[in-house]
Symmetry: C2
Subunit: 455 residues, 2 copies
Amino acid sequence: MEKPSLPKGTRDFGPAMMAKRQFIFNNIRTVFQKFGFLPLETPAMENLSTLTGKYGEEGDQLLFKILNSGDFLKDVEDIKLQTKNSKSITFDISEKGLRYDLTVPFARYVVMNRHEISFPFKRYQIQPVWRADRPQKGRYREFYQCDADVVGTNSLLCEAEIILMIKEVFKGLNIQDYAIKINHRGILSGIAEVIGGKGNETALFVAIDKLDKVGEDKVREELQAKGFTAESLNLLFNILNVKGSIVNKMAFLATKFETSTEGQRGLRDLKEVFNILEDYNASQDNVEFDVSLARGLSYYTGCIFEVKINNVSIGSVSGGGRYDNLTQTFGDKENLSGVGFSFGVDRIYDAMEELGLFPKEAQVSSKVLVCHFDEESMRYGLGILKALRDVGISSEIYPDQVKIKKQLDYANKKMIPYTIVIGSDEVKSGLLPLKDMERGEQAKISLEEIIQKIK
Amino acid sequence: MEKPSLPKGTRDFGPAMMAKRQFIFNNIRTVFQKFGFLPLETPAMENLSTLTGKYGEEGDQLLFKILNSGDFLKDVEDIKLQTKNSKSITFDISEKGLRYDLTVPFARYVVMNRHEISFPFKRYQIQPVWRADRPQKGRYREFYQCDADVVGTNSLLCEAEIILMIKEVFKGLNIQDYAIKINHRGILSGIAEVIGGKGNETALFVAIDKLDKVGEDKVREELQAKGFTAESLNLLFNILNVKGSIVNKMAFLATKFETSTEGQRGLRDLKEVFNILEDYNASQDNVEFDVSLARGLSYYTGCIFEVKINNVSIGSVSGGGRYDNLTQTFGDKENLSGVGFSFGVDRIYDAMEELGLFPKEAQVSSKVLVCHFDEESMRYGLGILKALRDVGISSEIYPDQVKIKKQLDYANKKMIPYTIVIGSDEVKSGLLPLKDMERGEQAKISLEEIIQKIK
């Protein structure tokens, strides 16, 4: 029989990884809740009619589709089968798919529950998503997203709170060297306008988005090929290369955007966000106004965010922005404005591992292992075990009659910090040898003293 | 455009349900960890070669299968397509499926990581599973399982600890009226032996398993049809109808099992489990020795468990048992004995809802909503908000400039217990009107006093 294996691009998370992942999740969840966001979970499977057409053609290809149950070929036209036309029969034999992100299921939820929801609706959602992407380092076919969104308000307070939440999560994770990049769709539109690239925005934004990866020359080349003149490109890089403080950049852009209402809208919004941060007494450390930040997704309409951890091989670990048309795609006529962002936990994990940032507490293990020389001492140990657990101390007893060495090995391998070895002496005296496994120290003390020491 | 919908048998969990579910999950997780179990997570998708053949033919039918990506028909034989043979092409166009339970992925994990695991390995796993079952009340196509297993030891301490964990979880959930039923495969085999039903065990156990649902007469009928004589059925019900304390039942069975080593093994194991519970100082309340408990799954080899909450429409909410062949199905030659059980969270949820057992704390909401009359007071409110969050109080500010009534309505709908309404007076004096939304009381106090009161 073949050895079992995992599907490509998927992973098991054993206890050591789980403990670290839970450390990240708990941190994020606590911050989300502290900011008034409420949890939502949606099913792994969605109707394909919900998913398709939302992520572009490439996204549709990357959806994992569920084969219909039963005699799924029954109603498929013969000709489709005879011509082996996989594409054309996909929707005949598959009605459901695995969710590709958390945004579309959230939009579906809002549309379906609009009348029960009190807006503004602040929800967070921490669940895996699936993409049939080619697996590579840092890219998996199953990975977790942690999203927080507010819909039903266009208040820029929400944008400011996103920045605050990111800062607080990173503080909790002890990640210090990072940048929250912020920009605004209006500013990008303004740039397109003033350099004479109106009508050609998509090509422009796609190219700009690559700037920090491929450099100015390549971006120039690409845009020249798309019909941008040398003059407009000079103006473009004159703007993109603006340096200095946030205030300086804004002042510079204001001079460029005299004729662009979109550009002015972008500047006004960003200024307001920074004002709110100030009123909140938040430092602007780690916050960067990045004029070249574009983000691929075309549905953003206002502020956009991206977070990078510095000095690691991983790219962005979080991103988001404001959208005005979340539910329109489901035929909703009322415009619901919203703003949200997403943490990529798998990438944060990899970055923290690379930087050695996981604290020692990011471990799950029992605090105490009760060991025993014989059956009598094991039975006596059960009472000790109960007393420890009764006060909330995670503890276990070695379940078999084996040599003490083997029991202590088990404690070491499982990183259990304390052991209590019980023999006939201990059963008689009630004094127990509590051993600190790391320091090797040992003291014979009473159960009460043990509890005090460990709590 | 069509209104979006959910796939049959799946559900969204909005904030109110999520809070209650998290209450259950947290409780279970805390108990598992207190008993030294460590977390594991496996991917939603497994290779079909891992899943098929593990759940019987019916189970195989209920697996959700993932359609291969790309040109999935390319290599399918023409004849299979021409004859529209759905069944025969299933494995040609689908290599992966969604996990059906947590036991098989756990077994796969153990086989794949055998050399890194320190045995006995105590793992817990809390994840959704998927079954293409016909949806009905209490039966969903996506639902959570919470499993805890110990493998690599045949110590009966583990069985006793399962009972202790169930008791502790139910105590935490305030579920008082329930029964942990325990039986042993050896006792069932012993019964088969002494009534002359050897070789016909499966039919016997399947029939017995229905006893409390369909009653004695129906079970008699069914077994008669399977060839059991009236005499052996009389003996069967003489045994199954044994009444009295655990000790009495055991004494009675011991007289019946004089010639059955299997029956004696069952009694010996159970006696040891009860002895351990006694050494642990655990009461035997809620524990029942149920001779007719059979549980369908044929892979159990020792103790079996089932938990029922009384006076609710839901059946069993937890079950498990000892198995000796967990990893054999993956070609593992070494026998790894293990014992485990599973909580059905969806059923526990339904039962607790039915019994009105969710405490008031099983809510997630902000503690405070900061409300404001105008922009100046909103900006002032941001400082208040920060101060509250800095000490860990979940709080939010209404993000838009709207009437106070609307802001207070929002607090009520979201069950936020406190509000602070800020106007120009408050900005000047720094004294803030903290309102207890439930009692309607209001007091003008300082920020420090507010923090003290709420913490």
